[in-house]
């Protein structure tokens, strides 16, 4: 397959267009702006809609409107902008609409910084808006994975009628790597049973709605959704296991951080330390089975994040706190170095 050299942000955009995304609504924010710029250049030519909205709030609601009519729709932003989108994301989830949201994370809280960060893990996996709901969360670690996961995100969003997020970061968004684009079937799902695209006087009217004033009806709609979540947990988890078969110390990392961790794991192996790495590719659903497989022989785990430690909660829950889980993190836009991770590996595992 032909290899192209692309920035992560641009690859996300191109992959979306190829995945049949028919409209993009965005608002400028560093470090994801190249995505919107690419869409502005390409989308109209590709027969779709690009529109710069007046706010993140408007952008996500334009996605809600377009998705309501059954077309593939996407918006993208970076951390502070995603907070603004949370209202719309909750409505999209509550209305059982498929949509893709990109978060190219930067440091927070508040205005924070513009350098890479992973401090939105909790937001993405636990609380992207009010109410009982989840969205699918994919965590790419390379530009190629950004492409592949956008394709998967659109597909699964349609399949399960729910929002899906690509949780990337400034490093992945800004870097260039070779990518190739797979063949994509953008019309795998029939939406004519629910889409509000005009009934043409030949069917009942369709209602896209998240309002249920009767508690038992709302409860039922949430129960139904959570039944789907159980199926998703069983079928949609994905993770990379690297040198885990014999590892004494299992490092856990996702996204760009996992690349740094991999370098450190290789260095540790050269020193004779049996280190391995578990890298979730889906953050929700969290790959519980996979981490237990990876950790089966490990004496301890070492979780590495570009945050003060957010995924570590899921790591501990997934292994039922059966082994010690250590943590090392950098935050605010500081990227951990392979050398300092190697030091941590020596500290927690090398002495044994």
């Amino acid at each position: 397959m032909e290899r192209n050299l692309m920035k992560g942000n641009e690859a996300l955009a191109e992959a979306a267009i190829r995945a049949g995304c028919k409209c993009f609504f965005g608002y400028p924010i560093t470090p994801q702006t190249e995505l919107a710029a690419y869409m502005a250049k390409r989308m109209n030519k590709a027969g779709g809609v690009f529109l710069q909205a007046e706010s993140e709030i408007a952008a996500v609601n334009m996605v809600l409107g377009a998705a309501s009519t059954g077309v593939r729709a996407m918006t993208s932003s970076s951390s502070p902008g995603v907070s603004l989108k949370s209202e719309g994301i909750s409505y999209i989830a509550g209305s059982d609409l498929p949509a893709v949201i990109i978060n190219v994370q930067r440091g927070g809280p508040g205005l924070g910084g513009i350098q890479p960060s992973q401090a939105d893990y909790w937001q993405a996996t636990k609380a992207l808006g009010h109410g009982d709901f989840h969205l699918l969360v994919y965590a790419p670690a390379s530009v190629q994975e950004m492409v592949d996961m956008v394709v998967t995100a659109f597909d699964r969003a349609d399949k399960y009628r729910m929002p899906a997020m690509i949780l990337a970061d400034g490093l992945l968004g800004q870097m260039m790597e070779p990518v190739s684009f797979p063949e994509i079937n953008a019309n795998a799902y029939d939406k004519s049973g629910w889409a509000a695209d005009g009934h043409k006087n030949n069917r009942e009217h369709h209602i896209i709605n998240s309002l249920y004033l009767k508690p038992d009806e709302l409860q039922k709609s949430v129960y139904d959704r959570f039944e789907r979540y159980e199926q998703i947990k069983a079928e949609e988890t994905d993770a990379e296991l690297y040198l885990t078969e014999d590892c004494d110390i299992l490092l856990c990392a996702y996204g760009a951080t996992a690349r740094v961790v991999k370098s450190a794991v290789n260095s540790a192996r050269e020193l004779g330390i049996k280190a391995g790495m578990f890298r979730p590719k889906t953050l929700w659903p969290f790959p519980v089975k996979e981490i237990n497989e990876a950790a089966k022989n490990a004496k301890c785990l070492l979780d590495i994040e570009m945050s003060m430690g957010q995924m570590i909660d899921d790591v501990k829950l997934a292994i039922n706190c059966s082994k010690p889980v250590h943590f090392f993190g950098r935050t605010g836009g500081v990227i951990p170095t392979p050398a300092e991770i190697l030091e941590e590996i020596k500290k927690v595992g090398g002495a044994e």
Binding site: R3, L5, T30, P31, I114, Q115, G170, L171, Q174, M175, M176, E177, P178, A256, R259, V260, K262, S263, N266, I335, T337, P338, A339
Partner: protein, 176 residues
């Protein structure tokens, strides 16, 4: 084997563009590669730098902290990164703009008056490419042919008249 390259200078000197050419060289030679720019306000007049990794294996961390090759295009960049270069590494210096000489003996430092050479040959803004010419000659990382192909790929069609100038700049670098 992985070659980690760091290119650094002022915004506007073409540091990111030079890095892009190296990245495309990697693509032309079917290597694994990554290109990572510094981004933010420094892009507009401050210092800019760019990490490029070229490898036969998938790239781990794309952030170059200890380069095998440093391309320094201004004094602050030279001062900031010269001690980070790996022992045995190579440094390419625009000696028109950088007066310092490297005191380390465990690395090879090449001084090319690339800004001056660019001016003399009417290659405005070609200092970065002259340094790349020197880089491929001394490191053997890529052939002239590969770099020519990369330039043809990177230079946008609207600026195709610049391709010949870039070829000329590489040759000047290789012969100095």
């Amino acid at each position: 084997m992985t070659t980690e390259i760091l290119l650094a200078g002022f915004g506007g000197q073409g540091v990111l563009f030079a890095g892009k050419i190296l990245a495309y060289c990697g693509l032309m030679d079917s290597k694994e590669l990554s290109w990572l720019p510094s981004y933010g306000p420094e892009m507009r007049g401050g210092t800019a730098n760019c990490s490029v990794c070229i490898s036969d294996e998938p790239i781990g961390s794309p952030l170059v902290l200890a380069p095998d090759i440093l391309v320094a295009m201004n004094q602050p960049s030279f001062d900031k990164f010269i001690d980070a270069v790996k022992p045995g590494g190579k440094v390419f210096v625009d000696s028109t703009l950088i007066e310092s000489k490297c005191e380390r003996t465990d690395i090879d430092c090449y001084y090319i008056p690339s800004s001056q050479l660019a001016d003399e040959n009417e290659l405005k803004g070609g200092s970065n490419i002259i340094l790349l010419g020197k880089l491929i000659k001394e490191s053997g990382l890529f052939s002239f042919e590969t770099m020519k192909k990369a330039i043809e790929k990177v230079v946008p069609p609207a600026k195709a008249q610049l391709i010949a100038n870039n070829f000329k700049a590489i040759e000047i670098g290789m012969n100095n």
